[in-house]
């Protein structure tokens, strides 16, 4: 099988992986090797000429932009934060959550001040556009702790059920964006491997809509 026919797809490790695998399988792609939860980071579906790479969510756009992977599945939050030159082909409607502003429950309206977040660029842009002054504090995790420890008055983070917020005595006050996982493509791969990419987009679109599809190479 010529290399031209193969597509490499970068997937995010962690919480986003199981729903992505479910969707790929619904689209008729063999993810048996992916399900075997080994420490391996590369897998293949020979029948469909697909290779998979597992990576940290924030690194997926890099892999795709530099062409290591032709395509990637990544959250809109990461795309908004990084602003890469990628083609956003399809909303996969998995990993549904919100990117929100939260503050300590019962405290006054957040008019400005320190905001802790994993998303400094989105946060800065959001408050700037509204003419509010916010000093962004970049953290890599446990964002909910920041208000409790008086490190920040508010946070910007992903919210799913809101349970984590509640447990930390925080309330969601504004939604910045609705987040889902997206199928993104390297522009060169999209253009040159047009037919193969078209097949994958159509298969995944059908799976998102709830249908089944056929093999593609």
């Amino acid at each position: 099988m010529a290399e031209m026919n193969w597509l490499t797809l970068a997937l995010a490790k962690g919480r986003m992986l199981p729903p992505a695998i479910d969707l790929l399988e619904k689209a008729g792609i063999d993810c048996g090797s992916l399900r075997e939860m080994s420490r391996q980071l590369q897998f293949a579906d020979d029948r469909n000429c697909l290779r998979f790479i597992l990576a940290k969510p924030a690194d997926i756009p890099t892999y795709v932009e530099y062409g290591v992977a032709d395509l990637g599945i990544v959250g809109k939050d990461v795309l908004l934060e990084q602003e890469r030159e990628l083609y956003e082909l399809l909303d996969l409607k998995i990993g549904l959550c919100r990117l929100s502003v939260a503050k300590r429950a019962g405290s006054g309206d957040f008019a400005g001040g320190h905001v802790a977040t994993k998303y400094p660029r989105i946060t800065e842009r959001y408050f700037q556009e509204q003419g509010r002054q916010a000093e962004v504090i970049k953290l890599h995790g446990s964002i909910e702790l920041a208000p409790c420890l008086n490190l920040a008055e508010a946070i910007v983070d992903l919210v799913d059920s809101g349970k984590t917020l509640q447990e930390n005595d925080l309330e969601e006050v504004e939604t910045i964006a609705r987040i889902t996982s997206r199928l993104v493509a390297n522009p060169g791969s999209y253009q040159v491997k047009g037919e193969r990419v078209g097949w994958l987009v159509a298969s995944l679109a059908a799976a998102v809509a709830g249908g089944e599809s056929e093999t593609g190479c």
């Binding site: 083609y87 956003e88 082909l89 999209y190 253009q191 040159v192």
Partner: protein, 407 residues
């Protein structure tokens, strides 16, 4: 960054080219100019900086935020060349106004633009390209696309696609379905960045008929061979849209007659960044490369800013992106075929004569800079990676080739 470091480094977005890469760049540039010459294009050169006013009016805003501006010693606003098409249009409309048309011009050099995004982007980029001014529409469009394809072939690229679109198709389609003003601009932006998710969301949110909505959602799928044109006509693109499809049909036919259709994909959702395009547009891609290798199109209104209106079409190749792809495809030239000439006491005259003779024949020769014993000279030749080493011991009258030792 402290002052000491700043003295040693180049600013982000610009770079020094070291021997292998600089040589490869020169090879690529020379080859491209040669391909342009074989198509009858003649090289011109324009200054690195010009009056800002020429650019600001002519490029109609699309480059406005990306230009480096500075006042000259008399306080007049200058810009560092952000693009070659505008200066070539100026040159063609002024100095070459009297030359017969069509006019075929080519160029090579650096352009300068502000970096955008948080990843370091190049601020100085090398380009080579052509402009074809005052020629018949479809014939010129096809020639320029054929020249782009031939350039990429001549550089040894195996897998690449040149996508072909037409700005008139999309404009007319949007107008016909009454998506005007800001929504129209937004739709074009989303198609330009191929953000189909946002495009879909936006179209779902507009007060449109189901038919109009369906037509617009089809645009990203209008990619492929000639059959795409028939599919596009079904979306009711309006009169100008149909005219655009007719042009693309003719251009595609000519490219097919060149025998190059297999390198071309029609893509009716293709939109380019520059506002000055008025007709056919195209971009070249290779797998795994996130940026176009080349791009261009028709700009029939640009020369009107400098003189009488004249139709024109052109394209530029992005040398920096090409170098990245070529580096992945093959080893850089590296291992230069050099000859080393060393000499002993009083051997210098013969050594230098020999070196000059060899150089005249085209051989690369490094001459030792000082007198050395033979063994040391041989070691020096080895250290330099010379393919051959000659040694002229001196104190002997030698005929050429005699008493000269082949290392």
């Amino acid at each position: 960054m402290n002052e000491k470091l700043r003295r040693l480094l180049t600013p982000e977005g610009v770079r020094d080219l070291l021997p292998d890469l600089a040589e490869e760049k020169r090879v690529v540039e020379t080859k491209l100019q040669e391909v342009f010459r074989r198509f009858g294009y003649r090289e011109v050169s324009t200054p690195a900086f010009e009056y800002a006013a020429s650019f600001v009016t002519a490029s109609a805003g699309s480059l406005e935020e990306k230009m480096y501006r500075f006042p000259d010693e008399r306080g007049r606003m200058m810009i560092l060349r952000p693009d070659f098409t505008v200066p070539l249009a100026r040159l063609a409309a002024t100095h070459l106004a009297g030359e017969s048309r069509p006019l075929r011009l080519c160029y090579g050099g650096s352009i300068y633009r502000h970096a955008s995004g948080h990843v370091t982007r190049r601020r100085e980029m090398a380009q080579a390209g052509v402009e074809l001014i005052g020629g018949h529409c479809a014939g010129s469009d096809a020639e320029v696309v054929a020249l782009a394809v031939t350039s990429l072939q001549e550089l040894g690229l195996g897998q690449f696609t040149v996508c072909l679109g037409h700005v008139g198709f999309l404009q007319s389609l949007l107008e016909t379905h009454e998506i005007n003003g800001k929504a129209g601009e937004q739709a074009r932006d989303y198609l330009n960045s191929k953000d189909f998710v946002s495009l879909r969301e936006m179209i779902q949110g507009l007060p449109l008929t189901d038919f109009a909505r369906e037509c617009l959602l089809q645009v990203p799928a209008l990619r492929g061979g000639r059959e795409v044109l028939a599919a596009a006509a079904k979306l009711v693109p309006g009169e100008r849209g149909e005219a655009a499809l007719a042009v693309l049909d003719e251009v595609y036919q000519i490219i097919d007659d060149y025998g190059l259709a297999r390198f071309v994909t029609l893509d009716l959702g293709l939109v380019r960044d520059m506002d000055y395009y008025t007709g056919m547009v195209f971009e070249g891609f290779t797998p795994g490369m996130g940026f176009p290798l080349c791009g261009g199109g028709r700009y029939d209104n640009l020369l009107g800013f400098f003189g009488p209106e004249q139709p024109a079409v052109g394209f530029a190749l992005n040398i920096d992106h090409l170098l990245v792809v070529l580096q992945r495809l093959r080893e850089l030239p590296g291992g230069r075929k050099l000859t080393f000439v060393g000499y002993g006491e009083a051997g210098r005259v013969q050594a230098l004569t020999l070196a000059q003779d060899l150089r005249r024949q085209g051989t690369g020769v490094i001459v030792d800079l000082t007198v050395r014993p033979r063994e040391e000279a041989e070691l020096e030749g080895e250290r330099l990676g010379a393919a051959r080493t000659y040694y002229v011991p001196g104190n002997t009258m030698v005929l050429e080739g005699e008493a000269i030792l082949d290392g």
